[in-house]
């Protein structure tokens, strides 16, 4: 069909001979399988870091903010640095799922689910800092304009810190519903494949009873589009508002009108770096190399190159304006000669090298298509963007208007511990996500398969019609007689004949096989096993009672007592009628 046309110059986005069913199987595999040893090792490390962070947070709150390295001059340091860093990381997720949707970028489909997950998990980390850096966090609810017994004492809507509350909570909640709505069809796919009853129940609950009607899809697409349209200005506004924390102040180096776009560019820059870090590992671990390909990495590197370029231009602008303004106070700001040679010279140069110089290597095609180099660069950018926020906050505060207040900052183990804790928490959430959620939006990937899948591109080039090309050998309906027993399960002949004697044998010549999967508790695998034994019909299943269930369990050796619990016979009786 002409609608699947795509210019031959475009590289395929799904490699290999993938069919629709392959997408289903590949996406469901990590969810249906078991976690391996490496997963448990990494998870344990992340959990330990998280618990250590929880300890540090409890220590801070119960003892006081004085356990941090802050002083009277530098009242914000690691706390807000980490806050801005985590919020920034979150932005790439929304950019991928919203902005790239508006631009109809097909390559987003393999990465948007994980990028959105990353957004949500990193905004959760960010959301911790505004609470725990408070002196009296138990009064945090006072930031909300709730009618109260103090003559209705309200909040002051002039403060960017209050805008932050609105921005972050809106951002988190909108991202969450955007992500969840997109997950419904994928949860439904896992629900309909689930073999274990518990898994089936959980995914039925999560999928909200998604059935995939034409009308549902029509609304679904409209909702996605409108949400993308809303999330795009939202993502720009959120980091803008975060930048207002600094830009609306009178601190030299902070008071700068370039901050809103510059922070947003930096957020996308660091966010994409984090997406790359995670996905380069995930494609290996979850066997998704066919979906997250070299092309995806290259495209993301191009976005990094663009946003990194914007950030670099902003650095130069800041540097120039600091000189051009003629203001003496600007001499000691984070991007000035004073900063490059002052006591924080190492932080200044870390920023320049990590964000300005290293990403420029991505202009070279070989390097930006190289997984190992992309991975290294993405880590360097994450470090560099942490230093950017640290420099902005700490260097600018350390040498303010009054020399008698000049000061230095050094973190304590609690500052560091909380940061490590949030990294641990992030990975705890992400690792759990990778094992329980469909990490690729399979419903979306299936929509581009015929236009951008390697197999279908080849078929089209050969001049074959794509109509009918989606049929898959494994899910196609085949005459029952053709199903030769694969001999996977060793069948006890004696017990088998005993079982078939009571429930009746199946004659492929005269009888028609039923779809046993309709019975709750029988999945594709169990059906195959039953077919091997010689059970094809509801009638046979309906004749089973305790004795037969025991025989069946003895033969299959899987899920003892399962058939009885699910009442297969009763279900089969209903299906006959």
């Amino acid at each position: 069909m002409a609608s699947h046309y795509e210019a031959p110059i475009r590289e395929p986005l799904v490699n290999g001979e993938k069919s629709y069913h392959d997408v289903t199987v590949d996406v469901a595999a990590p969810v249906e399988g078991r976690a391996n040893k490496q997963w448990w090792i990494v998870f344990s490390i992340a959990l330990a870091a998280f618990l250590w962070g929880v300890g540090c947070i409890i220590y801070t709150i119960s003892t006081g903010i004085g356990v941090w390295g802050l002083n009277k001059t530098i009242g914000w340091a690691w706390d807000i640095t980490n806050f801005v860093w985590w919020v920034g990381i979150g932005h790439a997720g929304t950019l991928i799922s919203a902005v790239l949707l508006l631009f109809r970028q097909k390559w987003r489909m393999a990465v948007n689910r994980s990028a959105e997950a990353m957004t949500i998990f990193s905004v959760i980390q960010a959301g911790l800092f505004p609470i725990i850096h408070m002196g009296r966090p138990w009064l945090a609810y006072w930031v909300l304009p709730i009618p109260n017994q103090f003559g209705s004492l309200w909040v002051n809507f002039n403060s960017p810190l209050l805008w932050d509350v609105f921005a972050i909570s809106t951002y988190l909640s909108v991202s969450l519903v955007f992500w969840w709505t997109g997950l419904l069809p994928d949860f439904a796919m896992i629900r309909d494949r689930a073999v274990k009853p518990f898994q089936k129940k959980i995914y039925s609950l999560l999928s909200f009873g998604w059935t995939g009607r034409a009308k549902d899809w029509q609304r679904f697409e409209e909702v996605s589009l409108v949400l993308a349209g809303l999330a795009t200005p939202l993502v720009l506004s959120v980091h803008t508002i975060v930048s207002f924390d600094f830009a609306t102040s009178v601190v030299a180096g902070w008071h700068s009108t370039i901050y809103p776009p510059y922070f947003v560019a930096g957020a996308i820059f660091s966010g994409f770096a984090m997406v790359l870090t995670l996905l380069i590992i995930m494609r290996k671990v979850s066997n998704l190399e066919a979906y997250i390909t070299r092309v995806h990495v290259e495209y993301m590197n191009k976005v990094i190159l663009l946003t990194g370029g914007i950030v670099s231009v902003a650095y130069i602008t800041e540097f120039f304006i600091a000189w051009y303004s003629g203001s003496n106070y600007e001499d000691y700001t984070y991007l000035s000669i004073g900063a490059a040679t002052g006591p924080y010279w190492w932080a200044f140069w870390a920023l320049i090298i990590c964000n300005f110089i290293v990403p420029q290597t991505l202009w070279i095609k070989k390097l930006r298509r190289n997984f190992a180099w992309s991975f290294i660069v993405s880590i360097i950018i994450n470090i560099g963007m942490w230093f950017e926020r640290f420099d902005i906050i700490v260097i600018n505060l350390s040498k303010g208007h009054l020399p008698s207040s000049w000061s230095m900052f050094s973190p304590t183990f609690v500052d560091v511990g909380i940061f490590i804790g949030t990294i641990g928490f992030f990975f705890v959430l992400f690792l759990l996500y990778a094992r329980t959620f469909p990490v690729i939006a399979q419903a979306e990937v299936k929509t581009i398969l015929k236009s951008s899948g390697e197999r279908y591109k080849r078929l089209r080039e050969e001049g074959t019609s794509l109509a009918g090309a989606a049929a898959d050998q494994r899910t196609a309906l085949k005459p029952v007689a053709a199903k030769a027993p694969s001999g996977k399960t060793e069948i006890d002949k004696e017990k088998q004949s005993q079982l078939l004697n009571t429930i009746g044998a199946f004659d492929p010549e005269t009888d028609q096989a039923d779809d046993l999967k309709k019975i709750n508790g029988i999945g594709p695998v169990m059906e195959k096993t039953l077919n091997q034994i010689g059970i094809y019909k509801y009638e046979q299943v309906s004749k089973m009672s305790e004795n037969e269930y025991d025989l069946l369990d003895a033969i299959t050796g899987a899920f003892p007592g399962r058939a009885q619990r699910d009442d297969w016979a009763g279900q089969a009786k209903n299906l006959i009628n």
């Binding site: 609608s3 629709y20 289903t24 304009p145 209705s152 004492l153 309200w154 909040v155 002051n156 809507f157 002039n158 960017p160 209050l162 805008w163 609105f166 809106t170 519903v177 955007f178 709505t181 069809p185 439904a188 796919m189 629900r191 309909d192 494949r193 039925s204 609950l205 999560l206 909200f208 998604w210 059935t211 995939g212 009607r213 034409a214 009308k215 549902d216 899809w217 029509q218 609304r219 409209e222 909702v223 409108v226 949400l227 809303l230 506004s237 803008t240 399979q442 419903a443 979306e444 299936k446 929509t447 015929k450 794509l466 109509a467 009918g468 090309a469 989606a470 049929a471 898959d472 899910t475």
Partner: protein, 174 residues
């Protein structure tokens, strides 16, 4: 109204599309189509009315903006018109720039959430809702078309088989 439907299962989106067109041409009523992913153009081919969910979102956004303005006008200008850092609190407009970020956020918040809730209500989706797809394969790689039946079973079966349906069966309408 007939209480029976005929269900045809396809395993290809392009075949489904041409089938929809043929069934429509033969003036049969398509009750429902279940697909594993959005098949573009399907709603048009079926003759579904366009959704109005974007319009509701716009209206919800207007509500959000109004709420934000009324709230901040009352709190900052009418209830406690205090001097906080020399900010002019004489009228809403005089301190308006400081209110823009929250006006914006509330607009987005209302527009997004209320639209999503509307979508969940209209499409009848909620946590304990039971799935209604008649065949589990429709979330994997099969497509199911339900056509209403009124005594023309044989003719319809033949038509659907001709369009490339793999499996045609009559079932009670649920």
């Amino acid at each position: 109204m007939a209480s029976k439907v005929i269900q045809a299962i396809y395993n290809d989106d392009d075949i489904l599309m041409s089938a929809v067109k043929r069934v429509k041409e033969a003036h049969h009523h398509i009750e429902e189509i279940y697909t594993p992913f959005p098949v573009h153009g399907l709603d048009k081919a079926m003759g579904l009315a366009p959704t109005r969910i974007a319009i509701t979102s716009f209206m919800y956004g207007c509500v959000g903006l109004t709420v934000a303005i009324l709230m901040m006008n009352f709190i900052m200008i009418e209830d406690w018109p205090q001097d906080i850092g020399g900010k002019p609190s004489f009228s809403f407009i005089s301190n308006m720039p400081a209110f823009v970020p929250i006006m914006f956020e509330m607009t987005v918040f209302f527009a997004a959430h209320l639209m999503v809730i509307t979508f969940y209500m209209r499409s009848r989706l909620w946590p304990f809702k039971k799935a209604e797809n008649p065949d589990v394969r429709t979330t994997d790689d099969h497509f199911l078309m339900e056509v209403s039946l009124s005594g023309n079973e044989e003719e319809l079966t033949k038509l659907l088989t001709d369009t490339g349906a793999l499996e045609v069966k009559v079932s009670e309408k649920h």
